[in-house]
C-alpha cells in the first residue's frame, strides 16, 4: 500500500531537551497506525508536529493523497527563511504567508485533523454547534450572503445541519444534539470530539488517546467505530493509545517510540514480541539487580 504520510528524520528540541530525535515512519493509505511507547516517549510531540501545533526543528513530513496531491507539511507550518528565497520573490512570498497565517489551521485544511488527550470541546455551545463550527470549509462564509440569507447560504447551512445529524447518529449522540457539549457525560464528550473531527472532512484522522477514561464496553464500541470510519469513510487513522488490547485489535501497523526515537515498528504481533519493546516498557531484565 502506498504511504499517505511519510515522516523522515523528524527532530524537535525544547531548549536543551531533545524531545524527538530522527523520528521516521510511514502511515499507509487506508490503514490504522498506532503510535505507542512509555510516558514521555514523545508520542504527543509527534502529533503536535503533524498537526502543526509545533514547528519541528528539522526533518520532513509529506502527505501524498490518492488523487496525486502532495502537501509538504513543514512548508505550510512556516519553515525558516532560506538564502535562496531571496532570488525567488514567489517562494519568499509563500514563506512569508505561511509564517503569518500558517500552522495548525492550514494543516487541518490540508486534511490532518486531530482530537486531544484532554477533551477540547466548545463547552458552552451545543453539540450541534460544535459540529457546525467544524464544517468551516463547507458552509458559505461570506458576510453579505449570510446577512441577507441568500439561497446558496441557506442551502449550505441546511446541508451542514444534515451532515452534523448524520455524524451524531453515527456516534449514537442523536438525543444530545441540542445539549451543551460541556454537560454531556465523559464518554459522550469523547465521541462528540471524534464526530467533530470527522465533520472537518479529514483524510488523516489523528486520535490522541481516544480510549482514555472509557470503560471496557465503550472501548469495544470505539474500536468498532474506528474500523467503520476506515472502511466506510476513506479515512486513514493514526492513533496514540495506552490500551494495548485496543491497539492490537485494530491497528495494522504499530510504531514504538522511546526517548524520542523509533525503537521498533511493524505488524502488531511482531512488535508485541519484540524484546526491545519489552525492555522499553518493563526495563531491562536484571538491570535493577533483582
Amino acid at each position: 500500500m502506498a504511504a499517505l504520510l511519510t515522516v523522515r528524520d523528524l527532530s524537535m528540541r525544547f531548549g536543551g531537551v531533545v524531545a524527538l530525535n530522527g523520528v521516521g515512519f510511514e502511515v499507509a493509505r487506508g490503514s490504522v497506525t498506532a503510535l505507542i511507547g512509555p510516558n514521555g516517549a514523545g508520542k504527543t510531540t509527534v502529533f503536535n508536529c503533524l498537526t502543526g501545533f509545533y514547528r519541528p526543528c528539522g526533518g520532513a513530513m509529506r502527505l501524498s493523497y490518492a488523487d496525486g496531491l502532495q502537501v509538504d507539511l513543514i512548508e505550510i507550518l512556516g519553515g525558516p527563511f532560506r538564502w535562496r528565497d531571496l532570488s525567488s520573490p514567489r517562494a519568499f512570498g509563500r514563506r512569508l504567508y505561511y509564517k503569518m497565517f500558517g500552522g495548525a489551521a492550514l494543516a487541518a485544511r490540508a486534511g490532518v485533523v486531530r482530537t486531544f488527550q484532554n477533551i477540547r470541546l466548545f463547552k458552552e455551545m451545543t453539540a450541534m454547534e460544535n459540529l457546525l463550527v467544524a464544517q468551516r470549509a463547507r458552509v458559505n462564509n461570506q458576510l453579505l450572503a449570510g446577512l441577507l440569507e441568500s439561497a446558496s447560504y441557506r442551502r449550505a447551512e441546511a446541508e451542514a445541519v444534515e451532515r452534523a445529524w448524520y455524524w451524531l447518529d453515527f456516534f449514537r449522540l442523536a438525543d444530545d444534539g441540542n445539549r451543551l457539549a460541556g454537560e454531556l457525560p465523559y464518554g459522550r464528550q469523547r465521541r462528540l470530539e471524534i464526530a467533530r473531527a470527522m465533520c472537518v472532512g479529514p483524510r488523516l484522522l489523528c486520535l490522541d488517546e481516544p480510549a482514555a477514561g472509557l470503560n471496557p464496553n465503550e472501548t469495544r464500541e470505539l474500536s468498532e467505530w474506528i474500523l467503520a470510519l476506515r472502511r466506510g469513510h476513506g479515512v486513514t487513522v493514526c492513533l496514540i493509545e495506552h490500551d494495548m488490547g485496543l491497539v492490537m485489535e485494530i491497528s495494522d501497523h504499530v510504531v514504538v517510540l522511546d526517548h524520542g526515537q523509533v525503537i521498533a515498528s511493524g505488524r502488531p504481533e511482531r512488535v508485541r514480541d519484540d524484546p526491545v519493546v519489552l525492555e522499553a516498557y518493563l526495563g531491562a531484565p536484571g538491570e535493577e539487580g533483582w
Binding site: 503569518m100 452534523a164 473531527a197
Partner: protein, 419 residues
Amino acid sequence: MNGSGEGAHGVGRWLREAAITGGIAFLLFAPITGVTLSGYTLEGHWQRPLWLAVWVAVGRFLWSWFRARPRPSPALSRLSGAFSLWLDDHRTHLILILLLGAMILPWFIGKYWLNVAILAWIYVLLALGLNIVVGLAGLLDLGFVAFYAVGAYGYALGHQYLGLSFWAALPFGALLAACFGVMLGFPVLRMHGDYLAIVTLGFGEIIRLVINNWMSFTGGPNGVRAPFPSLFGIDFGRRAAPGHVTFHEYFNLPYSNEYRDIFFYFLLLIVVSGMVFLVRRLRRMPLGRNWEALREDEIACRALGIQPVTVKLSAFGLGAMTGGLGGVFFAASQGFVNPTSFTFMESAHILAIVILGGMGSTGGVIAAAVLLTVLPEALRDFAEYRGLLFGCAMVLMMVWRPKGLMGMRRARFRRSGVA
C-alpha cells in the same frame, strides 16, 4: 415535636449570631461615628453607633432567615419554565410589542426624559458592539471607549476639515472606527485574558491623550463642534442657515425644539433596530459561531482549520464599527465633543452593561443598557451612592446570576427529514 424544637433552636441561634454581629459592628462604629470633634472638645454621640449596630443585627438576622428559608417550590419553577416556553413561542410578538412601545414612547415623556432615552439608545449601540468583542469572541476589551471617541471625533473633525455632513459621517465614522479596531487587533493577536485587557486599556488611554494633547488638530480640551443632522436638507434650528429651510417653517408649525429630539430618537431607533437584527443574524452565521468557538477554545479552533487571526480581527473590526456608530450619534446629540467624555470610566460603564446583561445575550444587553442609563437619572437624589449601588449590583449578579440577567439562548436544531 422534634422539628419545632429544632426550629426554635434555629431562631435562637440566629438571634445569638445577630447579637454578636451587632456587637462587633458597635465596636467598629463607635470610634468612627460615636465621637466627633467640635471645636476643641470631643462630643459623644452614643445613639449613632447603636442605631447602626441595630441595623446590622437586623440585617444579619434577615440574612440567616433568608438562608434557612425553603427552596422555591417545584410549582413555582414549573411556572417559570412554562413562562420561558411561552416566551420562546411568542418571541416575535414580544419584540414587535416592545418596538411599538419604543415608537410611541417619545410622545408621552417630556423633553428631559426624551434626552435620557436618546442616551440610553446610544449606550445600547455601544453595548451591542462591545458584546461582539467580549461576550461573543471572549476578548476582554477595557478600551472600548477608544472606538466611541474615534466615531465621535470622526464626525466632528470630518465636519470641520472635510465638511462632512452627518449622513456622510455615519459610514465614515463607522469605517474609521473599524480600521482602528483592526489596527488594535493586530498587535494583540497573541494575547489572552488579563494581558489583552491591559493592552486594550492602554490603547483607550492613548486615543484619549492624543485627542487631548494634539491642540492644533483636535482643539484639545476645548473640544470640537458637531452640528445636528438635517433631514433631506431641512434644518431643525429656530432659524435656517442661508439657503436652507427649517422644519417648522416647512410644515407650518410653531417652533419647538422637541421635533428635533423626536426626529433624532427615531433615527437612533432605526439604527439600533438594524444593529440588533445584524447581531442576531451574525450569531447564527458561521462567523458568529466561529467567534463563540474562539471564546471557548482557541486551540481546538486551530485544530479544526479555523484561522484565529481572521476571526479575532473580524470581531474587533465589527465591534469597533458599532462603537464608532455610537460615537457619531453621541457627537451629533451633544452638538460638541471633548476628551472628557471618553475616559476609562466610560469603558467600565459599557463593560458593566455587557456583564450585567449576560455575556452574549442580545436582549439582556439591551435591557441592561436601558436600565443602567435610566436608573441613575431616576435616582438623581442618590447620585453620591451611584457607585456603591453599582458595585453592589455587580457583586449580587456575580453571586446569583453569573450568566447575566438573561442567559444566552442557544439556537435549537431540528431534523429536516423528521416531521
